[in-house]
């Protein structure tokens, strides 16, 4: 082989090497994945819920009830199957404000104070004179006592719900107090115990004429099935203690006034209406076991 042929052969080999090698380098570069491609969003994370039980106590309160709001002592327990899925039970076991009237009920109670069915109002101008409602039969306004006796209020609540926890993070309060937190949505069902106070007396008759026009009132009470949907959050002060806030929408059929709705001659199940009943809770939760795993 001459020197010229040898040089040409080396040149061709170099060219072929470049043409074959460059696509291989290019393909390798394209196949190269970022080392963070499949990484979790947060590494070395404290898995504060996974396979842990939570137990706690707190308070819950209804919001925007028609007649009576309730402030209840609350118990809460739950188990987390994973860091993002749990099953919980909440119970408002004791209503410590059985006489907490809503502002609407206060105004209604004042307005019913002039009912001519109340013997104490017999001398009121509205109940005397030629144009006034001089007899029970002509005034359909119920008395304060009978209206109140027919109204129901929430006595106890027992709810079971699945908790889906998609949001987890960490925040600082005024740059000093650092807390892990999670935000979850919940859905489930339970029972609401509706109670009333006092006894209904629907009989109203004029004296001495004897003309009667009975009131239509029958309180709707007892344990009722309720659907539950809501949101909540945990703010972890440390690995085993958290402050829990929940907002529930309890959806159940109710006749809170205990009065006729449909125009029928009596109060029946046909007078029930689906109602949304908002309840907010604040609980202090302890997570067990106290030791917490740290993710990779």
């Amino acid at each position: 082989m001459t020197k010229k042929a040898h040089t040409m052969k080396r040149g061709i080999a170099l060219l072929v090497g470049c043409l074959v090698g460059i696509p291989a380098v290019t393909q390798a570069a394209q196949e190269r994945k970022s080392p963070l491609a499949d990484a979790p969003a947060i590494r070395k994370r404290f898995e504060l819920r996974d396979k842990r039980v939570e137990l706690g106590v707190g308070m819950s309160a209804t919001i925007g009830q028609d007649f009576y709001n309730a402030l209840m002592i609350n118990l809460r327990a739950g188990f987390h199957f994973t860091d993002w899925l749990g099953l919980s039970v909440s119970a408002g076991v004791f209503n410590i404000t059985p006489n907490w009237r809503s502002s609407f009920n206060d105004q209604l109670n004042n307005a019913l104070g002039t009912s001519c069915r109340d013997p104490n109002n017999a001398t009121l101008p509205v109940c005397t004179g030629n144009t006034a409602k001089t007899s029970i039969a002509t005034d359909k306004t119920p008395t304060q006592a009978n209206a109140a006796a027919a109204e129901n209020r929430i006595g106890q609540v027992l709810l079971g719900h699945l908790d889906l926890i998609p949001f987890t993070g960490k925040f600082s309060l005024f740059g000093k107090l650092f807390m892990n937190y999670d935000v979850y949505v919940l859905a489930g069902a339970g029972a609401v115990n509706l109670v009333s106070k006092g006894a209904v007396n629907n009989t109203y008759c004029d004296t001495p004429a004897g003309t009667c026009r009975d009131d239509l009132a029958k309180p709707y009470t007892g344990m009722k099935l309720a659907w539950d949907a809501g949101v909540g959050m945990h703010a972890f002060a440390n690995n085993y203690f958290a402050i829990n806030i929940e907002l529930h929408d309890l959806i159940f059929k109710n006749n809170a006034a205990g009065r006729d709705v449909t125009g029928s001659p009596e109060v029946t199940s046909a007078d029930l209406l689906w109602t949304n009943n908002w309840m907010v809770g604040l609980n202090f939760m302890f997570f067990l076991p106290a030791h917490v795993r740290v993710s990779h």
Partner: protein
């Protein structure tokens, strides 16, 4: 030599190689790059320090000691206080406008519910302070309870409906953070506090439908709290609560029995005017929960500092 140069040319001319080059680089992060960019211009690179042929050993030693002392002093100044909670905000608002259409629903009136549709136009003076305007139109809906009061209790309720409102609003963002979504995605969010003052127009709903109605224009301050989640560089979703507090005038309970004065009779004063003069005032609180979609302009932003 020519062959080597030719081969090198082919390698460098290959676009795939060029495209792959950054990915196959040192793997430094954007923050590291930014930190490099922030490095003082006077700093002498390590490689060049050994190439100072004109310096004697003593001079080089003195220079090294001086640099070490400077580095030690700088290190002493750095502490945990230099570590920020959120190292780099994913979203900057300062100097940008936000146009946010929103919808809201009233929460606290058992007798009448209001839905509203409106918008906010906000300018962020900085990343935490903002000033803007808000306007909304209300649609009323009487509640089932309100419709039953007359039937069940033989009583009627005095109600006002809200028509529309407008406010000047100031905002402050006290908190900024991020959370993991199923530990797969990082979502950045902030908390905003607002206070505003404006006007609200309301209208009485007559107890007797045949009676004439009238409108009120009330001064209406409000406070609000909301949280905002950043979706893209120009899009954010917000939810929050707004509490409007104002002194409103309601239809007098005794409107049907009002007797005009002789002067009013002489002036032929309309009945609705007499009723308005006897209106009862009451402090009204309207708490609304709202959701909005915020569009930021300009749609992009750039960082001025490495963190």
């Amino acid at each position: 030599m020519k062959r080597l140069a030719f081969g090198l040319f082919l390698v460098l001319a290959n676009p795939g190689f060029v495209a792959a080059a950054p990915a196959a680089g040192t793997g430094e992060t954007a923050d590291e790059k930014a930190s490099e960019a922030e490095a003082p211009a006077t700093e002498v690179p390590e490689a060049k320090k050994d190439e100072l042929p004109d310096l004697s050993d003593e001079v080089k030693e003195a220079a090294t000691e001086k640099e070490e002392a400077t580095a030690a002093a700088t290190a002493a100044q750095r502490s945990w206080e230099d570590i920020v909670v959120v190292p780099r905000k994913a979203f900057l608002k300062g100097g940008r406008f936000e146009l946010a259409p929103f919808s809201a629903i009233s929460m606290n009136d058992a007798m009448i519910r209001h839905y509203s549709f409106g918008g906010d136009l906000v300018y962020y003076l900085s990343d935490v302070f903002s000033v803007g305007a808000e306007g909304q139109y209300f649609i009323k809906e009487r509640s089932e309870r309100q419709s039953l009061v007359g039937f069940q209790y033989n009583r009627v309720t005095t109600l006002n409906r809200f028509k529309y409102s407008g406010s000047l609003v100031f905002g402050y963002v006290p908190g900024y953070g991020k959370f993991g979504l199923f530990n797969k995605y990082i979502v950045h969010w902030d908390v905003t506090l607002n206070a505003g003052i404006g006007l609200i127009w309301t209208e009485i709903i007559p107890v007797i439908p045949d009676k004439a109605t009238w409108s009120n224009m009330d001064i209406c301050p409000h406070v609000a709290i909301s949280t905002r989640m950043f979706v893209t560089d120009w899009l954010a979703l917000s939810i929050g609560l707004r509490d409007y507090i104002f002194l409103d005038k309601f239809e007098p309970l005794n409107r049907s029995s009002l007797v005009p004065t002789p002067a009013e009779v002489a002036a032929n004063t309309p009945e609705v005017q007499i009723a308005k003069e006897h209106a009862t005032s009451s402090l009204t609180q309207n708490i609304m929960v709202f959701g909005s979609v915020g569009f930021f302009l300009p749609p992009s932003f750039s960082y001025k500092t490495p963190r």
